[in-house]
């Protein structure tokens, strides 16, 4: 059997190889997907007797039309970015991490536990300690499906989805039992939430009267860090090599299963970090519904960002905005914010469906510019 480069990992930006046309095509096309999805959803809105222009206008206004809205969009972009970065790392090794939801939950549980157990630690110690705990717990939740894939070839999409459900039930169990807020028990409300975190574990708020917190800087720093990791370190190189061509990587001595396991573990860690930051920055306690679908929306953000760490930054701001805008839209025209999920699904279908097509355009263009090319590119 001849070794052939996988066709659909067409989103790898290799330095020096890409030109402007290619860059523009690869980055702009996913955004066309957003418009296509919005266009199709407009017909659904029409069927539901709602004016799509009014609905989308409310969405846009809510997301980016005010300081308050913009801050809120960035609050939502923060976990999306971290989850999306994890998805990028995993995807570079040809592993799809759908376990963001569960990893966020594990990260938030561990971070909350750390803050509630050591409330007297100074801020400079406690906050990094919580983040580390969240990262490690999320990494553990990513390691299990990673290890199962490496050792037993278990389909990671299915196992990470199951890990989500398990984490959700674990959270329900903890919030209705061991971790339930003692205040709520005393007051007889029995709310499914934990005790409030000590003030030393709160992330600073950046804009007055909004939720925007310093976690957004952490997420941005990780975007740069992941970029450096993937393109400037040996392990990052190995992960990318595994994704581009597993057979060739294997023959050149790279441990393919190990790198896939590692990438899923790191992806889990980043999602776990998203969870603990969400707790420390926004809610200041852990409660039901904390994940807010970030685990799935983060995948879409990663795809839209062409699976490039720096591309995920604008993509997650866009989706953070969509999530905030959806709530505004719900209030303005009574269309449930669930519409966003339908739009996200269409975007994924569109982006995944167009990946090969874009790849072929670029390939054709490259072959055309080559003066002599007697051998087929696929035989490389």
């Amino acid at each position: 059997m001849r070794i052939r480069l996988p066709r659909t990992t067409s989103t790898d930006h290799e330095h020096g190889k890409g030109d402007w046309f290619e860059f523009m095509l690869r980055t702009s096309f996913p955004f066309l997907g957003v418009f296509a999805a919005l266009f199709i959803s407009a017909f659904v809105l029409l069927l539901l007797k709602t004016n799509p222009i009014v609905a989308y206008g409310a969405m846009l206004q809510g997301a980016f039309g005010s300081i308050n809205g913009l801050s809120q969009s960035l609050v939502k972009a923060t976990p999306l970015l971290l989850v999306g970065l994890g998805v990028c790392i995993a995807f570079k090794a040809s592993v799809i991490n759908v376990g963001g939801e569960g990893q966020i939950i594990l990260g938030s549980i561990a971070g909350t536990w750390m803050a509630l157990t050591f409330p007297d630690l100074p801020k400079v110690v406690l906050i990094p300690a919580c983040m580390t705990a969240g990262f490690l717990a999320g990494a553990f939740w990513g390691f299990i499906p990673g290890m199962l894939k490496a050792r037993f070839k278990v389909n990671e999409i299915l196992s990470t989805i199951m890990m989500n459900s398990i984490a959700l039930q674990l959270l329900n169990f903890l919030l209705q039992g061991p971790m339930m807020d003692p205040e709520g028990i005393k007051a007889g409300t029995f709310l499914a939430q934990s005790a409030r975190l000590p003030e030393s574990a709160w992330l600073a708020r950046l804009v007055p009267r909004t939720m925007l917190h310093s976690g957004v800087y952490v997420a941005l720093a990780f975007a740069v860090a992941v970029y450096i990791f993937l393109w400037r370190t040996t392990i990052g190189y190995q992960i990318r090599a595994v994704g581009l061509n597993p057979q060739a990587s294997h023959y050149s001595g790279i441990n393919v299963p190990f790198n896939q396991m590692l990438s899923l573990t790191l992806a889990g860690g980043l999602s776990g970090l998203a969870g603990v930051i969400e707790v420390m920055g926004v809610h200041r306690r852990i409660l039901e519904g904390l994940t807010g679908g970030y685990g799935f929306t983060g995948i879409v953000a990663a795809l839209l960002g062409s699976l490039h760490p720096l591309g995920v930054v604008p993509a997650s701001v866009l989706f953070g905005g969509l999530l905030v805008g959806a709530n505004t839209m719900q209030r303005a025209v009574q269309i449930p914010s669930a519409l966003i999920n339908a739009i996200l699904g269409l975007i994924v279908l569109f982006v995944s469906g167009s990946a090969l097509w874009i790849h072929q355009i670029i390939k054709k263009r490259k072959t055309a510019t080559m003066v002599v090319s007697p051998t087929k590119e696929t035989q490389a």
Partner: protein, 310 residues
């Protein structure tokens, strides 16, 4: 406290098991066809949700269960066509496109449910049909022969699927396309057409599975009604080693676990509900771990086919 080992309880557990296995059977048998042709359709859960909603809505408006079933199949077909278009014609990475279909189905069903229905309502779904004589057998009669049309159809689908896959040319073609698409292509089998057919058949059956959930098992619809059952159904295909008989075993095992857990709660045995609900998911992971590496997996599973290049 009732004796948990009494005949009544055992009969109750088994009756619930048979009912709960219906959606699993339809979805997993459909996915078997899809996967044997080489396409992993991870959108099954989304198809079940949207089709399940439409089946429920049709019954809510008209009271006609057959209309509901037909509508569910039609929605399944439409979503199957989308999945085939994206994954077979446009050759998308199947994992990603399936997730897209799932998110779309989840969002759209939730949207339509909230706008068109609003609150959780119940409908009268398929009524049980008692098979003469057999239904009167003590103990087994009520469990096996007093079910509704969809339950009988689901169990009948097991031998029918087996027959199609093992005894017909069509079955042979489906498996050939999943094992070695280039070879199948070279003997004149239209790989894409067979894959379209298999994915759409699987999606129609996933639609029926959704209807089985909303107008046969639960007789209601709510947000995310499936709670991941579509994904478990995909896992059952791995568990069943890509054979209808194996899928039947897996479906019964899972619905038994769920049924037993429900009955534990009914009987008031003290198990934290959330830990009990966790069990089927843990079971799925264990099942995937012990069943994947048996070498029965279609060789071209999850691989796109490029004509004339392999």
């Amino acid at each position: 406290m009732t004796n948990i080992f009494s005949f009544e309880v055992l009969s109750g557990v088994l009756r619930t098991m048979i009912a709960l296995s219906t959606p699993f059977l339809f979805a997993a048998l459909g996915e078997t066809f899809s996967q044997l042709s080489g396409v992993v359709n991870l959108g099954v859960d989304g198809i079940m949700l949207l089709a399940g909603f439409f089946a429920f809505y049709a019954v809510l408006l008209t009271g006609n269960v057959w209309l509901g079933l037909l509508l569910a199949m039609f929605i399944g077909l439409l979503m199957g066509l989308i999945m085939s278009l994206v994954s077979v014609t446009l050759k998308a990475q199947q994992g990603i496109s399936g997730i897209g279909l799932q998110i779309f189905g989840l969002g759209m069903s939730s949207l339509l449910f909230k706008v068109l229905v609003g609150t959780v309502k119940t409908v009268s779904g398929f009524a049980p049909i008692k098979i003469p004589l057999l239904g009167d057998i003590p103990f087994f009669g009520p469990i096996l022969f007093r079910n509704n049309f969809l339950v009988y159809a689901a169990f009948l689908l097991v031998p029918v699927s087996w027959w199609i896959l093992e005894k017909t040319t069509l079955g042979l073609k489906i498996k050939a396309v999943g094992q070695n698409p280039a070879a199948a292509d070279s003997v004149g089998i239209n790989v894409n057409r067979i894959r379209y057919f298999s994915v759409c058949l699987g999606a129609i059956l996933a639609g029926v599975a959704g209807a089985a959930l909303s107008i046969s098992v639960a007789n209601l619809f709510q947000d995310n009604l499936t709670a991941g059952q579509g994904f478990i159904a995909v896992a059952l295909v791995y568990f069943g080693g890509w054979s209808p008989i194996g899928v039947l075993g897996g479906a019964l095992l899972f619905s038994f676990a769920t049924s037993a857990q429900l009955w534990l709660q009914v009987l008031g045995i003290q198990v934290p509900a959330s830990l009990a609900v966790m069990l089927p998911y843990i079971l799925t992971i264990i099942v995937l771990t012990i069943s994947v590496n048996r070498g029965k997996q279609p060789a071209a599973l999850n691989k796109q086919f490029f004509r004339g290049e392999n």
